[in-house]
C-alpha cells in the first residue's frame, strides 16, 4: 500500500503509474477513505442502532443512542473505545475524520460512555452495560477437521455451504423456538458469518440467558482429547435436533457434502468416519468390505454415495445390538455438518 509508494519514489522518482492505476490486492487506506466519503450508510446505520428512539413521539428515549458505545481501530492498531454520538451527523464527521480501519459496535450503557468517569467516582457502579444484541460468531476454520478442500481462513464453494447450513438451522430456531424476529446475518469479513439478533427482548438478555441459548444450540463438544465429539443420547432426539436433521442436515450431507468433500474417497478419510463408530467389530467389518472394493469398477463419483449406503445399512440393520450404535448415523451427520458456535463471543454483554 503505502510501502509501494515509497519504493516507487526510491527508484529515482520513476512514475509507477502502473501500480497506482491497478486495483491493489488487499486493503488500501485511500479506498477506505473514498468508501467513507461516498458509500458508508450513516443514516441507515444510525437509524438501526437508535431502535426507534430517534423519532419525535413521547415514548422515545432521547439519551438512548448517545449511550451506545462504538469502538474504532485506527491505522497502526490504535484502539479507541467508548466513542458515542448523538446524531448521524456527528457519527459521519468522526468517521470521516478518523478513518477507522475497523468499527466495533459495543453495548448500550446506563449513561453516555463519554461521561463515564464522572459516574465512576461515586463508586456506585452506575456505569454498566444495559443492552446488547444477541450475537453469534461462526468461523469456518472451526470446521478444519471435517473439510478437506481448505483450511484456516480460506474458503471455497465446496466448504462455504457449511455456513449456509449454520444460517438455516440457527435462523429457523431463533425464530421458531425463541420467537425472535429481527435477525441480521452478515459476512464477517474474513472467514465466517455473524448473526445479530436485534429484538428488544434479545438486547435485554442477561449473560446467563445468553449462555443458555448458546448451550441449547451446542452439540459439538470439541477438544483434543476425545475422538467422538458428538454424542446423541436418549431414545429420541429433542424436537429441535430432530427437525434440524430431517429438514436440513440429512439431505445436505447426502446430496452435497459427501461428494464435495469426497468423504469416502481415500483410506484416511474412510478411517476418520469409521473412528466415530463405537463398535470395533462393525467398524472393521466395514473397513474390510471397502478394502475389497477398491479395485472394483465403481467410478470415483459413486464411491462416496455407495460407501455411505453400506455404512447406513450396516448400522441400521439391527443385527448389532450395541447401545452406542442407536444414533450413530445421525452422530456422523451431525459431526460433519452441524453448526459449531464460538461460545465465548455469545456471552459477553
Amino acid at each position: 500500500m503505502g510501502d509501494e509508494r515509497v519504493e516507487a519514489m526510491e527508484i529515482d522518482g520513476q512514475q509507477r503509474q502502473e501500480v497506482a492505476a491497478a486495483v491493489p490486492d488487499g486493503f488500501n487506506a485511500d479506498y477506505l477513505r473514498i468508501y467513507y466519503g461516498k458509500l458508508f450508510p450513516y443514516g441507515d446505520f444510525f437509524k438501526w442502532l437508535a431502535y426507534g428512539n430517534d423519532a419525535k413521539h413521547p415514548g422515545c428515549d432521547q439519551s438512548y443512542i448517545g449511550r451506545r458505545e462504538l469502538s474504532f481501530t485506527l491505522e497502526n492498531d490504535i484502539y479507541l473505545r467508548f466513542q458515542s454520538f448523538d446524531s448521524a451527523a456527528e457519527l459521519e464527521t468522526s468517521i470521516k475524520e478518523k478513518c477507522p480501519f475497523k468499527i466495533d459496535i459495543g453495548p448500550v450503557y446506563s449513561v453516555d460512555p463519554a461521561k463515564r468517569h464522572a459516574y465512576a467516582q461515586s463508586g456506585n457502579n452506575v456505569f454498566v452495560p444495559v443492552e446488547r444484541e444477541l450475537i453469534f460468531d461462526i468461523d469456518i476454520s472451526d470446521y478444519d477437521d471435517v473439510r478437506y478442500c481448505c483450511s484456516g481462513a480460506d474458503t471455497c464453494l465446496d466448504c462455504w455451504p457449511l455456513m449456509t447450513i449454520v444460517i438455516k438451522i440457527l435462523d429457523t430456531s431463533l425464530r421458531g423456538d425463541f420467537g425472535f424476529n429481527h435477525i441480521l446475518w452478515v459476512y464477517s469479513g474474513r472467514r465466517g458469518v455473524h448473526c445479530w439478533v436485534c429484538d428488544s427482548r434479545a438486547r435485554k438478555l442477561s449473560n446467563e440467558q445468553r449462555s443458555a441459548i448458546a448451550d441449547y444450540f451446542r452439540v459439538y463438544k470439541g477438544g483434543e482429547n476425545s475422538l467422538k465429539k458428538v454424542s446423541l443420547t436418549g431414545p429420541v432426539l429433542h424436537p429441535f435436533l430432530a427437525r434440524s436433521y430431517t429438514d436440513v442436515l440429512k439431505c445436505f450431507f447426502e446430496d452435497k457434502l459427501l461428494h464435495s468433500q469426497q468423504l469416502f474417497a481415500s483410506e484416511e478419510r474412510c478411517q476418520k468416519i469409521l473412528e466415530l463408530i463405537p463398535d470395533e467389530n462393525v467398524a472393521s467389518e466395514l473397513h474390510d468390505k471397502w478394502q475389497g472394493n477398491r479395485r472394483s469398477s465403481i467410478s470415483k463419483e459413486d464411491v462416496n454415495a455407495a460407501r455411505w449406503e453400506q455404512l447406513k445399512t450396516t448400522l441400521q440393520s439391527g443385527k448389532h445390538k450395541t447401545q452406542g450404535l442407536r444414533r450413530c448415523v445421525e452422530e456422523i451427520v451431525f459431526s460433519y455438518t452441524y453448526p459449531r458456535l464460538d461460545m465465548e463471543v455469545c456471552q459477553s454483554t
Binding site: 423456538d177 420467537g179 443458555a212 443420547t233 424436537p239
Partner: protein, 433 residues
C-alpha cells in the same frame, strides 16, 4: 421465611422438635434405602400424619412452624449438621409439595415468585406430541405428565441450556416436575442462607444467653437417635471373648469385622476405633469384665498390661457407665458411622464409604461375596447408598432378604443371629424327624 413472634412453652419447644426430627430421620432412612419417588411420597405422608398432624389444622401449622425453627437452631451449628438438615428439609418440602392439591401448589409457586399459569387443554393437545418427544429425549417415559406451564424461556435458562423443554415462539413448556425443581431450589437457597445467619446469631448471642434453658436442649437434640436403644445390652444375648472371632466371621457387619482384624493384627486401635467397636461389643452383649479381659489381651501385647490398666481401662469402664458422669454412650448407628472422618491410622468409619474400590472388593471377597452380588454392591456404593450396600452384603452372606434395611451395626448382628438360629432349629428338626 422469618420466625414468627409466638410464645412457646418449654416442653413444646423440645417435644415439637423431637417429633419433627422423627419425620426427618424417617426420611433419611427411606432415602438411604433407595426408595423410589412414589414410595417416598407415601412414606412422607405417613410420617407426617404419625408425628406432626393434629386434629386442629391450626395446631398442626403451629407445630410445623415451631419445630422447623427450633431445628434450625439445632442444626445450624456445624457444616455437617447444616448439610444434613438442609437435605432432609428439602426432601420433606419436595414431597409435601407433591402431595398438595394443584390449587395450593399454584399458590405456593406464586409465593416463590413463580406465578405460572397451567396450560389450557386445547393448547396442550396441540403440542402433546412434541412434549412427549422431549420427555423421551431426556430418558423419561413416553406417557407425558398432565400438567404443563408455558413460561418465557428467559425464566428457565438451565432447562433451555440442557434441552429439557420444548420451545416455541419464545415460550418454554415446563412440566410440573420441573417446576417443582424450581420451587425446591429456591426453598433450599432460602433455608441455606437462613441457617448461616442463624448460626451467626447463635454463636454470637443466643448460646450464652440461653445456656441454662434452651442450649442444653438444643445440644442434646442434635445427637438424638431414634432407633431401638442399643445402649443397654439386651440381657437375653450375652457374648464372651472366646466367641468373638467366630461371631465376627458369621455375624459382624464389615465395619466391625475390619476393626477386629486390625485389632488382632496390630494389638491396638486408635480412639475412634475403640469407641465404635467397643460400644458395638457392649450392645452385642459383652459384659464389662469380659470387655476388660478382651481389650487387655490385645493391648497388653503392644503396650503392656500395666499401661493398659493405667491408660485404657478407665475409658472402657466409662463406656459402661461406671465412671464419671452418667453414661450417654449408645453404640453408633450407621448414620453416625458413615459420617465419621477417619484419618491416618484409623480403621473406624464405614468401609462402604471409606474404603477404595480395590480394598472393598477384597474385603467382600473375604466374606464370601462375589460375582453379581459383588457388582451390585459396588454399584450401590458408587451411588453412595452405603447402607443399602451393607444390606445387600447381609443378604448375600445369609441367603435371606432383609426388607427393613440395615441402619445399625447391632441390628445387623442381632438379625444375623436370628437367621442363624432359625437355620439351626430347622436343621435340628430335620435331623430329629
Amino acid at each position: 421465611r422469618v420466625a414468627p413472634q409466638l410464645e412457646v412453652r418449654l416442653e413444646e419447644f423440645e417435644l415439637f422438635a423431637i417429633d419433627r426430627l422423627r419425620v426427618l430421620k424417617g426420611i433419611s432412612d427411606g432415602l438411604s434405602r433407595g426408595k423410589r419417588p412414589e414410595e417416598m411420597e407415601k412414606l412422607v405422608s405417613e410420617l407426617w400424619k404419625a408425628h406432626m398432624r393434629h386434629q386442629d389444622p391450626a395446631e398442626t401449622l403451629n407445630k410445623d412452624i415451631i419445630s422447623h425453627f427450633v431445628l434450625r437452631l439445632v442444626y445450624c451449628r456445624t457444616e455437617e449438621l447444616r448439610k444434613w438438615f438442609l437435605s432432609m428439609e428439602n426432601t420433606l418440602f419436595r414431597y409435601r409439595f407433591r402431595l398438595e392439591s394443584p390449587e395450593s401448589q399454584r399458590l405456593l409457586m406464586s409465593e416463590f415468585q413463580l406465578p405460572y399459569k397451567a396450560l389450557p387443554h386445547s393448547e396442550f393437545e396441540a403440542v402433546k406430541d412434541k412434549l412427549s418427544q422431549v420427555a423421551r429425549s431426556i430418558g423419561q417415559s413416553a406417557s407425558v405428565e398432565s400438567v404443563f406451564f408455558k413460561v418465557p424461556f428467559e425464566e428457565v435458562p438451565d432447562l433451555v441450556a440442557s434441552r429439557r423443554v420444548f420451545l416455541s415462539k419464545g415460550y418454554a413448556y415446563v412440566a410440573m416436575s420441573q417446576v417443582v425443581s424450581l420451587v425446591v431450589t429456591q426453598f433450599r437457597c432460602n433455608i441455606s442462607k437462613a441457617l448461616v445467619l442463624t448460626n451467626r446469631k447463635w454463636t454470637a448471642t443466643i448460646k450464652e444467653q440461653e445456656k441454662d434453658r434452651l442450649t442444653p436442649i438444643v445440644e442434646a437434640l442434635s445427637n438424638a437417635y431414634f432407633g431401638p436403644d442399643y445402649s443397654q445390652p439386651n440381657d437375653a444375648t450375652e457374648i464372651s471373648p472366646k466367641d468373638i472371632d467366630q461371631l465376627a466371621r458369621t455375624s459382624f457387619p464389615l465395619c466391625m469385622r475390619h476393626m477386629l482384624e486390625k485389632l488382632r493384627e496390630n494389638h491396638h486401635l486408635k480412639h475412634g476405633g475403640r469407641m465404635q467397636f467397643g460400644l458395638f461389643l457392649k450392645g452385642a452383649g459383652l459384659k464389662l469384665e469380659d470387655a476388660l479381659t478382651f481389650w487387655r489381651s490385645e493391648f497388653s501385647q503392644k503396650v503392656g498390661s500395666e499401661r493398659f490398666d493405667k491408660e485404657y481401662a478407665y475409658s472402657i469402664r466409662h463406656n459402661y457407665g461406671k465412671e464419671g458422669k452418667r453414661t450417654d454412650y449408645t453404640s453408633y448407628s450407621c448414620q453416625k458411622i458413615i459420617s465419621a472422618t477417619p484419618g491416618v491410622g484409623d480403621h473406624h468409619g464405614c468401609p462402604y464409604r471409606h474404603f477404595g474400590e480395590e480394598n472393598l472388593r477384597a474385603a467382600l471377597n473375604n466374606m464370601g461375596v462375589g460375582g453379581n452380588a459383588l457388582e451390585g454392591i459396588l454399584d450401590k456404593v458408587k451411588n453412595r447408598h452405603y447402607q443399602l450396600a451393607c444390606t445387600m452384603t447381609f443378604e448375600a452372606t445369609h441367603g435371606v432378604s432383609c426388607d427393613t434395611g440395615i441402619n445399625h451395626p447391632n441390628q445387623y448382628f442381632s438379625e444375623s443371629q436370628k437367621v442363624l438360629q432359625a437355620k439351626n432349629q430347622t436343621v435340628q428338626s430335620q435331623l430329629s424327624t
